[in-house]
């Protein structure tokens, strides 16, 4: 013991700082909400793979129609009903443009001396399916995003006001919500579309009419839980106005549930659009969405299955990846799942 004190010389000691300012310093960089969530989403392999696949599809929806020289709307009956033919792959014996009709294998490309490549084949009017698939994906994603955004906007405002105001206002708003949620949204959408002319905007509006209810409920529930917490009380004591409480304190803390809910609205909107097209009240020709492509393809799919199967694969991939990302985000944002 005595030896060690002798060995450390006096000048190597430093006086402790008088002000304790540095005591509170956090050595590691502060984790923002988004960063924290990202760190946890990153561990979920399924969500990350889904995110990459979805991004690829979104990029394809943007640039896909420009990748081939074929136009998605131009009709050329001499090129109708061609099966898929892809360079490179055709040398391996798949996607070489051959198809079986009544047990006999034929190759329309060779028979008709067509040199061009239609990667996904063509439909009955000779339109390139590759271009149309990505045009359709674009429209489907656009409708879904628009519907999700409007749902979010209305739902968040309604939920915030209802939960934050409380009392009589909340009571009335909740009763309205309860009655509205009793109306099956399928019925509202179908009725609306019978009146409005089917188009991108009218489909979106029809879906929004009942679509925001889920969001409003979730947001209200969260606001009720959060508004009695200490940090809100502290902020109010310091003189914060309602607007500041709502936007500076409540909204950031709600962002988790809002993002999750929106992430689940997108696939359901895509599904609904496709469903409406399939029963014949969706987008009208020549406009293409994944739903209309599936519906068109279904008419001839016993003989030309690729016309239906390709858009089906694309829509299924979009829906699966969206759901997996949503699941991943929910696990990441849910404080109960924190490890």
């Amino acid at each position: 013991m005595t030896k060690s004190t002798e060995e450390i010389q006096k000048h190597r000691f430093e006086p402790a700082p008088k002000d304790s300012f540095d005591n509170e310093k956090i050595a590691k960089p502060q984790l923002s909400f988004a960063k924290d969530a990202w760190l946890r989403v990153r561990k979920n392999k399924g969500a990350i793979i889904s995110l990459v696949i979805l991004l690829i599809i979104v990029i394809m929806a943007i640039i896909g129609p420009h990748l081939t020289s074929h136009d998605g709307y131009e009709q050329d009956v001499s090129r109708s009903n061609l099966p898929p033919r892809i360079p490179v792959l055709e040398d391996w014996g798949i996607f070489d443009g051959s198809q079986e009709i009544g047990g006999v294998e034929t190759n329309k490309y060779k028979d008709m001396n067509i040199d061009e490549y239609y990667w996904f084949g063509t439909d009955s009017l000779g339109r390139d399916l590759f271009t149309r698939t990505w045009l359709g994906t674009r429209v489907s994603l656009y409708i879904a995003l628009l519907a999700a955004l409007i749902d979010m906007l209305i739902g968040v405002i309604y939920g915030l006001v209802s939960g934050f105001k409380g009392g009589r206002v909340d009571n009335v708003m909740q009763r309205i919500l309860e009655i509205m949620s009793g109306i099956p949204n399928l019925i509202v959408v179908i009725l609306m579309l019978l009146i409005l002319n089917p188009g991108i905007l009218s489909i979106t509006i029809a879906m929004v009419i009942t679509g925001w209810i889920g969001m409003a409920r979730v947001v209200r529930g969260q606001v009720l839980k959060l508004k009695n917490q200490e940090y809100i009380l502290a902020s109010r004591t310091l003189g914060a106005k309602n607007g500041r409480l709502l936007f500076k304190h409540l909204l950031p803390n709600l962002s988790g549930v809002i993002i999750i809910n929106t992430m689940f609205t997108i696939p359901s909107a895509i599904f609904f659009e496709a469903f409406l097209s399939f029963i014949g009240i969706g987008l009208q020709a020549p406009e293409a969405s994944l739903g209309t492509l599936i519906e068109d393809g279904y008419k001839t799919f016993q003989f030309l299955p690729h016309l239906m199967i390709i858009p089906c694969i694309v829509i299924s991939i979009i829906l699966i990846t969206c759901n997996l990302i949503g699941d991943g985000l929910r696990d990441a944002f849910d404080p109960k799942m924190r490890d």
């Binding site: 009725l191 029963i279 089906c312 299924s316 829906l319």
Partner: protein, 310 residues
């Protein structure tokens, strides 16, 4: 409980009233009258027809008549199907729809529960991942995509089952499977989360500590308790089945309500659209009401909370 039920029934009536009124006025907003396209009709004939169907009277009177008829169970007559009353049409077509619906619900929940229980009991093993993946697929892939693919591979390619017909049990297999996908996925996901939560609770630890075997704990204590909340997903399941039935019935050519509804939409047969809409709305709200009441009876915690679940 009585107060809760009364409150819910009042809501049901209000909801149905709103839907009925909305359908009526929306149909009135549509341009044209049902007889406009019949060029053979003279003006006098048209007036007679208008009078016969009460279309010459002011809209408030028509509205009152329409509402009175609904209460009596009269939904009007179809333009398309030989002036058949809509109620008769619905009656003649409800059989196949109900059969498919129940088959799908039954098979769906049983397979779903099995998958969910397996996933929860073997959490974080390949069984769990497999079952969860299946559930995501079932939740994501639209029923009409599934139905069409099934029809192509099993019906057209392999010729194992009838492609599209309605006679006997074999023709109901493929539509039932297509419809059951959604209930399977919903039940499996719900069951898994619920069972994992139950398995982590104190009374399960106690049951284990008392020396019960894993199987005994699971079947006697855990699964029973996890099953109760499953009732709540029956509502969304019914909604999903109804949506699914429209396209699945159309794909497999089943003479059910869904198929007829889609046909009426395509041919603008408004009385049928209105009637079926009301019928669907009534059925759905009723199912959800019954489920909520059942849940209140089975789970006493809901009753204690005064019936306010939100």
């Amino acid at each position: 409980m009585a107060k809760y039920i009364t409150k819910r029934i009042i809501y049901l009536v209000i909801t149905l009233f709103i839907i009925a009124s909305a359908t009526f006025f929306l149909m009135k907003f549509l341009p044209g009258t049902p007889f406009e396209n019949e060029e053979k009709l003279s003006i006098e004939q048209r007036e007679i027809l208008n009078e016969k169907y009460g279309l010459d009277r002011p809209i408030p009177v028509q509205y009152a008549n329409y509402m009175a008829n609904i209460v009596k169970g009269d939904l009007g007559v179809s333009f398309q199907f030989d002036n058949q009353p809509v109620t008769d049409l619905l009656k003649s077509r409800i059989g196949p729809s109900l059969q498919l619906g129940f088959q799908a619900m039954f098979i769906g929940t049983i397979i779903g529960i099995l998958l969910g229980v397996l996933a929860a009991m073997f959490q974080n093993t390949w069984i769990d991942y497999g079952s969860t993946f299946l559930a995501v697929l079932g939740k994501s892939i639209p029923s009409f995509v599934f139905a069409a693919v099934l029809q192509y591979f099993i019906g057209v390619k392999l010729e194992l089952l009838p492609v599209a017909s309605w006679n006997g049990f074999t023709s109901s297999i493929m539509p039932t499977i297509s419809l059951a996908i959604f209930p399977i996925a919903t039940a499996a996901r719900f069951m898994r989360t619920e069972l994992i939560e139950v398995l982590g609770s104190d009374y399960i630890t106690l049951a284990k500590a008392k020396g019960n075997s894993r199987m005994e704990v699971s079947f006697k204590h855990a699964i029973r308790n996890a099953l109760i909340p499953l009732i709540t997903v029956l509502g969304p399941m019914a909604v999903g089945l109804m949506t699914g039935s429209m396209v699945v019935e159309q794909i497999f050519a089943i003479p059910g309500i869904g198929e007829q509804f889609v046909k009426s939409i395509q041919t603008n047969d408004f009385p049928i659209i209105m009637g079926t809409t009301l019928f669907f709305a009534f059925l759905l709200t009723l199912i959800i009401l019954i489920i909520d009441i059942l849940y209140g009876i089975i789970d006493p915690r809901i009753r204690l909370a005064g019936g306010d679940k939100s």
